[in-house]
Amino acid sequence: MIPTFQDYLNVAPIIIVSATALLEIVFQIIFKGFKKYVNIFSILGLLISIYFAIINFDKVSMSFSNMVFSGKYASFFEILFCIIGILTILQSSTIQKYYSINKIEYNVLILISIVGMMVMSAGADLISIFIGLEIMSICFYVLAGFARNQIIANEASLKYFLLGAFATGFLLYGIALIYGTVGTTNIIKIAQHYPIALSLDLHLLGLILLLIGLAFKVALVPFHMWQPDVYEGAITNVSGLMASGGKTAAFASFLLIFSIPLAAGNNNLIEIVSVLAALSMIVGNIFGLVQQNIKRMLAYSSIAHTGYILVGIIATNNFGNHGALFYLVVYSITSVGAFGVASILENEFGKNLNINDYSGLSQKNKFLAFAMSVFMFSLIGIPPFAGFVGKYYLFAAAIQRDLTWLVILGVLTSIVSLYYYLRLIVYMYFRDPENQNNIIVTNDFKIAISFSTIVVILFGIYPSSLFSVIRYIFNIY
């Protein structure tokens, strides 16, 4: 029962990121001038974590008495979260100059939230997943209110916290009911009870309550109310982290928990999830049309994308699962980038976020305008960019599974979404600049945005490179 050294090695990525965060707290107390190096230190920690995730990549195992997975699926997400973390920290170096935020706490909270995400995507037990979710959420509640002299940030933090705590209650109740019916919280042991367990109403109720808890975290309609307000109130880079990392982590545990019961073909469950997906696509895209604030627009677009990804997951065939993972990767990188560009234009908290402020961006800064249009095209799903490939896979999977109505809805709402994504591009390229605020782009920021842009284009042209990895890792159990 006592864990061996191998157990610790298996969860090394998680341990290293936690250790980095803890060391930052210690160094802050010991060394006076640590503030200057904190960003580099965090990135270094994340890079080492990636290294260990790659070492563990090939062998799937469970550690600590079947509490946590490692290898393949887990490593894949661990690497993804580390990359998202690095991008977020690189982009934040600019924003830290504009509004006074405390660098060290900001870094520590981002790192700990990444620990939470990793645990969520690697959890082999509902308890681990729950603890991971709580670690991530608590960091997000604080990060949402980090600009604490802004009333809008306070509102965001409080709203997120109250609703999030409520959703956690649902999640826990679901876990309790599942434990009550099958007598275990281990995902694999639960899966052994399928499909008999699915015929128990109590078990089904537990799954649905669990679904509500996770649906809140990924912001599926009708559990999406918090998202636009929180994304607007949070520091823009933090919104990017929430939209990418937070969502991906919740989807990763969603896949771990629900891929088996959904595949078992329980009609009640499939109907409920399909309705959530359909509503998210409709509400996200239609509300996105009327948004003037870029952060709110991206928030609604993120709700819509949650719907698209869910379509693939409902299909539960290889096409759908692989497509969903592909789309998760592409969407995370895209949204980190898009929020990053928004953050650099916003040179004071809450300023320059209107669509009008983007007019004539191509004349002021060609690089930013190009990057932003790449992200927008990818979000629409236009061929040379990665978003198209992802959407294609998701919809093809749904057709295979006879969910044509969802696909029709998906395509129609994508067409609707064309309007607000293209509007931004039109403003950037075909309008004259309205104000002459100068944009300072640091090197850190350039690296981060170039990386995201290249990834989005590369995976659009060579999707098979990522798909081969996904095909290799996607064998959860």
Binding site: F64, S65, S100, I101, N102, I112, T181
Partner: protein
Amino acid sequence: MTFEEIVFWSLVLVSGFAALMVVISRSPIASALYLILNFFCLAGLYLTLNAQFIAVVHIIVYAGAIMVLFLFVIMLLNLQDETKLRERMNWKSFAAIALSILFLIELFYIFIIKTPTPKIPIHPSSKEIGTVEYLGKILFTEFLFPFELTSILLIAAIIGAVVLAKKKFELTD
């Protein structure tokens, strides 16, 4: 009715009453005090389930520490006139009430009318599951990983509390 059933139902009745009073009471302090009553009843329910440790922790942490925090927050907000906070009933509250009742009916249906005969064997050691010895044993062997993660969770909460609530927190570099 056996003794246990009498204890169970009286605890259920009192805790339900207390929970209702938490919501209905005009004064926030009264709500908080009713919440304590509710916590004590819940602790009693845990005892009927043989979960002594959870019962004690529930009283120490919830009825003790967290209620103090509640009272501090109520005094921090310093609501002068509670009647001002009264909300009018609108369609949203009606919809919320209707949905809650629907959920309640659903739960009743599943728990009482369609109670399934458990097809899957319950954990064999469910008798001793709540004792401190058993809890400690599995917490430090089987559930070691989540336990260690709890410390990370707590440290995130500590930093969060300091960042958000410290009065003079130097915001600049």
